[in-house]
C-alpha cells in the first residue's frame, strides 16, 4: 500500500494545482450560476425545470469610501459582489448560509452576513470590509490587537471576526442589549460574557476564541 505521506507531490505543485482549480471555479462563475437550477432539480428527483434566463439589475454601492456602479445578476449576494466583482477577497465565504460569520461586513454602520444579502437590495449603501478597516502599515486597532494576541490560527474566519468585533464595541457603546445582559433597563456592561455572547455568530474552527476575546478586551479597555 502506498505511504500516504510519500506522494512525491511538491507543495509548490499542490499550490499551483489549487490555484488553477480556484481560477477555473472563478471564471465561469456567471455561467455556473445561471444553470444551477437544472442539476439540483434532477438530483432531487423533481421534474427538471428549464433554467430561466438570468436577470440583471443595476446597483451602486459605496465600499470602503469608494462608489461602484455595477450591473449584476439579481441573484448575486453582497458577498459575491465584494469578492468576484470588486476583488475584495478579504471577506470570506465560509458556509454561505449565515451560520459561520466569515462573510461579516459592516453595512450602513451595522454588521451583517453578506452571504444572506442580495447586492441589488442595497443600492446606495455604505459597506465597510476588512480592507476598509485598515491596511498593512496602518492597521485598525482591532486588527493590531488580533495580531498581538494571536487571535487566529488559519486566519480564514479572521476578517469576519474583526468586522464583528469592531461592531460589538460599537453596539455596547450604543446600549444594544444582549442575551446575557442582566438588566435590560441598564446600559450593557463590557464584560467577557458580553463579548463571548455577542461574538457567537462568528465561528472559529481553529478554536482561537480565548485569544480573540483577549484582543477585543484590550481594544475595549484602550478606548474606555
Amino acid at each position: 500500500m502506498d505511504d500516504p505521506f510519500d506522494t512525491n507531490i511538491a507543495r509548490r505543485n499542490v499550490l499551483k494545482t489549487g490555484a488553477l482549480a480556484a481560477t477555473a471555479a472563478t471564471v465561469p462563475f456567471g455561467a455556473a450560476a445561471q444553470t444551477a437550477g437544472a442539476p439540483t432539480a434532477a438530483a432531487s428527483g423533481a421534474p427538471a425545470v428549464p433554467a430561466s434566463p438570468p436577470v440583471t439589475s443595476k446597483v451602486t454601492l459605496r465600499v470602503n469610501g469608494k462608489a461602484h456602479a455595477l450591473t449584476v445578476d439579481t441573484r448575486t449576494s453582497l458577498l459575491d459582489v465584494l469578492r468576484e466583482n470588486l476583488h475584495l477577497t478579504g471577506t470570506k465565504k465560509g458556509c454561505d448560509q449565515g451560520q459561520c460569520g466569515a462573510c461579516t461586513v459592516i453595512l450602513d454602520g451595522r454588521r451583517i452576513n453578506s452571504c444572506l444579502s442580495l447586492a441589488i437590495m442595497h443600492d446606495g449603501a455604505e459597506v465597510t470590509t476588512i480592507e476598509g478597516l485598515g491596511q498593512p502599515g496602518k492597521l485598525h486597532p482591532m486588527q493590531a490587537a488580533f495580531v498581538k494576541h494571536d487571535g487566529y490560527q488559519c486566519g480564514y474566519c479572521t476578517p469576519g471576526q474583526i468586522c464583528s468585533a469592531v461592531s460589538v464595541l460599537d453596539e455596547i457603546r450604543k446600549g444594544v442589549p444582549s442575551h446575557v445582559t442582566a438588566d435590560l433597563n441598564q446600559k450593557p456592561l463590557l464584560s467577557i460574557d458580553e463579548i463571548r455572547e455577542r461574538m457567537s455568530g462568528n465561528i472559529c474552527r481553529c478554536g482561537a476564541y480565548s485569544n480573540i476575546v483577549e484582543a477585543i478586551t484590550e481594544v475595549a479597555g484602550g478606548k474606555a
Binding site: 450560476a33 445561471q34 444551477a36 437550477g37 439540483t40 432539480a41 438530483a43 432531487s44 428527483g45 423533481a46 425545470v49 433554467a51 430561466s52 434566463p53 438570468p54 436577470v55 439589475s57 445578476d73 439579481t74 441573484r75 449576494s77 454561505d96 448560509q97 449565515g98 460569520g101 461579516t104 451595522r110 454588521r111 451583517i112 452576513n113 444572506l116 444579502s117 442580495l118 441589488i120 437590495m121 464583528s164 461592531s167 460589538v168 453596539e171 446600549g175 444594544v176 442589549p177 444582549s178 442575551h179 445582559t181 435590560l184 433597563n185 463571548r196 455572547e197 455577542r198 457567537s200 455568530g201 462568528n202
Partner: protein, 317 residues
C-alpha cells in the same frame, strides 16, 4: 438559485398588488431565511418584491395603550427599544435569545413571524417532505427527530416552528395587521395566525395569497415579571430544544407559551389559569395529548423543569 425578476415598491398596497399580479412572487425584507431557502431551491420565486422601503420601520404607541410595531422594524431595534425592554421584556429577551447579532441586524418583525422550520428533512431536497413537496411523505417520522414536535403534530409532519420572537408574541396576544391587493385590511389575532400541520403542513399560516403583513400590535403592558428561558444544545446561536416564555404577576397568576415543541408557538389558555398551582399543574394541561417520539420524549421533562425553574425565580422576587 433560480433566476428571478426584482421589484422595489413604495407603499404596502403597491406591494400587495404586485404580489397579486405575479403568482408565486415572494416579499423580501431582511432575506435572512428566504435567501437561504432560495439557494437550496426550496423556495423558487420567479419574482421578488422588496418591501424594505414602505415606511413600516417605526414603533408607535396605540390609542389603546399598547404598541404598533412596523413590519420592517429590525429584530435588533425591536429588542433594543426602551418601551419593549421596560414593558414587554419577554419580547426583548426572546429576540435576543434568537440567531446572531448579524442576523438580528437584518431580520425584520414580519420576516421573523414567517420564517420556515429548520427540520433537516425540509432542508434536504433529496428527501421526501410533505412541507416542501406536499404528498411526498415525512422523513422525520421514523428518522432523526430529536428536535421535533411533541404536541399538535400529525402523521404528515412533525416539524417545529423555529422562531423565539413568535413565542413571546403569542404570549402577549399580539395582533398581525395585514393589507391585500384590493386595499382591504385586517388584524389577525396571533392565536389564529399559525396553523397546525394536519394534512397540509405546507400551509403554515392563515395569510391569503399576496397578503402583506404591515405591523404587529401589542395590547397594553401586562406588568408582572417577564421570562424567556431557552434551552439549547449550546449556550448561544442555536435553535431551541424547548423554550418557555412566561409572565408572572405578583399574585402568582400569569401566562405561559412554549417554543420548540410544536408546529407553532404553543399556548393553551386553560394552562394559563393554573399558573398559581405550580409547574406540574400547568404542564399537565399545556402538554395534554403530547405524543413525543422515542428520541424527543426528553422534551416533556425539559418543559416541566424549565417552567419549574422560571416559577421558582419568579417567587424570589
Amino acid at each position: 438559485m433560480r433566476a428571478f425578476t426584482y421589484q422595489r415598491v413604495s407603499t404596502p398596497a403597491e406591494a400587495a398588488q404586485a404580489a397579486e399580479r405575479n403568482p408565486g412572487a415572494r416579499f423580501i425584507a431582511g432575506g435572512t431565511n428566504l435567501l437561504d431557502l432560495m439557494k437550496l431551491e426550496i423556495e423558487t420565486p420567479p419574482h421578488l418584491i422588496d418591501v424594505n422601503h414602505l415606511g413600516l420601520d417605526k414603533i408607535e404607541a396605540t390609542p389603546e395603550g399598547g404598541l404598533r410595531i412596523g413590519a420592517q422594524v429590525l429584530n435588533v431595534d425591536l429588542a433594543s427599544d426602551a418601551r419593549i425592554r421596560r414593558d414587554y421584556a419577554v419580547l426583548s429577551r426572546a429576540l435576543l435569545a434568537g440567531a446572531s447579532a448579524q442576523l438580528r441586524n437584518k431580520a425584520t418583525t414580519a420576516g421573523n413571524l414567517l420564517q420556515r422550520t429548520r427540520c433537516p428533512y425540509f432542508y434536504d431536497t433529496a428527501q421526501p417532505c410533505n412541507k416542501r413537496v406536499p404528498g411526498s411523505g415525512c422523513s422525520a417520522i421514523g428518522g432523526y427527530n430529536r428536535n421535533h414536535a411533541i404536541v399538535g403534530h400529525s402523521t404528515a409532519c412533525i416539524a417545529t416552528h423555529p422562531s423565539d420572537m413568535a413565542v413571546a408574541m403569542q404570549l402577549l396576544d399580539a395582533g398581525v395587521e395585514t393589507v391585500r391587493g384590493d386595499g382591504s385590511k385586517r388584524v389577525i389575532p396571533i392565536a389564529d395566525f399559525y396553523r397546525l400541520p394536519g394534512t397540509t403542513p405546507h400551509i403554515e399560516n392563515t395569510l391569503a395569497a399576496g397578503e402583506l403583513i404591515t405591523a404587529v400590535t401589542l395590547p397594553r403592558p401586562l406588568g408582572g415579571r417577564h421570562f424567556y428561558r431557552k434551552v439549547r444544545d449550546r449556550a448561544s446561536y442555536a435553535f431551541a430544544l424547548v423554550s418557555v416564555a412566561a409572565v408572572v404577576l405578583p399574585d402568582g397568576s400569569g401566562r405561559v407559551a412554549l417554543g420548540g415543541v410544536a408546529h407553532k408557538p404553543w399556548r393553551v389558555p386553560e394552562a394559563d389559569g393554573r399558573m398559581a398551582s405550580g409547574a406540574n399543574a400547568v404542564v399537565e394541561r399545556l402538554l395534554a395529548g403530547a405524543k413525543p417520539t422515542a428520541d424527543n420524549a426528553f422534551k416533556v421533562t425539559l418543559v416541566q423543569r424549565t417552567l419549574e425553574s422560571v416559577l421558582a425565580e419568579a417567587k424570589k422576587g
